[in-house]
Symmetry: C2
Subunit: 287 residues, 2 copies
Amino acid sequence: MLQDALAADAARIQTCLDTHITGETDLSAAMRHALAGGKALRGFLVMETARLHGIEADRAVYPAAGIEALHAYSLVHDDLPCMDDDDLRRGQPTVHIKWNEATAVLVGDALQSLAFEMVLHPDGVADVAARSELGLRLARAAGQQGMVLGQALDIAAETADVPLNLEEITTLQAGKTGALFGWAATAGAVMANADPGPLQNYAAALGLAFQIQDDVIDETGDEGTVGKAVGKDAAAGKATFVSLLGLEEAKSRASDLVEQACDSLSLYGESAETLRHLARFVISRQA
Amino acid sequence: MLQDALAADAARIQTCLDTHITGETDLSAAMRHALAGGKALRGFLVMETARLHGIEADRAVYPAAGIEALHAYSLVHDDLPCMDDDDLRRGQPTVHIKWNEATAVLVGDALQSLAFEMVLHPDGVADVAARSELGLRLARAAGQQGMVLGQALDIAAETADVPLNLEEITTLQAGKTGALFGWAATAGAVMANADPGPLQNYAAALGLAFQIQDDVIDETGDEGTVGKAVGKDAAAGKATFVSLLGLEEAKSRASDLVEQACDSLSLYGESAETLRHLARFVISRQA
């Protein structure tokens, strides 16, 4: 049932993005390629927290599309040869493999612009103050104090003499994954001019659980199921939650975080049940 | 006098950007490096058209900082080995030379986010509807229908069998240079909820004149004065306004465009004299 809801919202988000990518150029084709095939977890967080706050889905799909465009941009750049150098993403060749590096740089750049276009689109968030606030929050979540900082710490860790410790890797992931999860999960409250505090707490725990599960999948999964290369971090001697905590302790930590995430939603009562299901799904997924 | 006004605004914009780049990491150092030493023409357009519409400089400096951050991001990515592969920019080593390619990708990404942070900053544009509108317009000017499209056409031209014709190169430059000039020159009107039409016409002519002069400098300038490599387009057999029109006709075309730009400002009378000086400066500059 959660899977159906996820798939329905992902399709809706995809349609919204498709109608805003114009032209039949290499650039537009590569942008569509980069946006295809994801689970749209972050977009779903926007849609679901919007529902929780009584915001229409026709409106919420715009910021949902925005966060998916932003996430897709980060993946395209992260996969570049000078970054993580990955050939496979979501079971498909990465943009620089299917096209070339210049196209991958430009696709990522254009997807970041598209993210702000979607968040600031007047057909999306109705209240103009909330729209502007969401745009500002996205800029901060995405930038040098948020996601890009996490990426920079990750790249620096690859050439560091000493592997990161648990505190450092938690800081890294708070930027790399946590910032966008935080933006997405609080979007509904911001759209409704409500207190984003409880959803921020939910997102912080969820984001960390998500990243621990990513490390678990990287350790235990196979490339066919996961849709991208696995075991790269371990092979490179990079610290992960699994290498630092061991597999069982990492799983247990992720499970505790999911309970913590669910507890943050007590204020919302039964109406937040889908968000609780989502939290449990995040640590049960194998891809 | 225009030079003094340009330098004063450039310093003010620089200070605004500096206070919003935090931390003492490679990332923040490289962001500051990428923002240093420019003429801040686009930022000046924002400041000057804001003055024209009675907007305080303390407010206008934020969107001015935003457009300079966006322009700086485009240069950092444009200089990458997979793009134009330039070692020198504004007389300094480019980011990927001074640091590395991964840092250059991330610096550009973070500068784009910073651009939207500045434009959407509540200390900047006071009217929230105008703020949101400027953010949306920036997303469109920067993205796949604006600047990035221009860049993609430029990259494609490098491997094309036939050099671009005048119409194609004009379309390319309308994206690559014109979109940001258009955003910057209309910012003052948008901030004041006034008709951006006349300033849009001014910007369209100015942007094209600017690009023709860039081609003239590339043909006639030396690296020491210009602060970056020159003559690359000619050496690569790429079409430029100079190769298509000849040097004298290109200069004459730029001069006509500057007159056209100045005529667009008739509505503003004497108060737009600085913008007219700026237009004449654009085609007299040697760097």
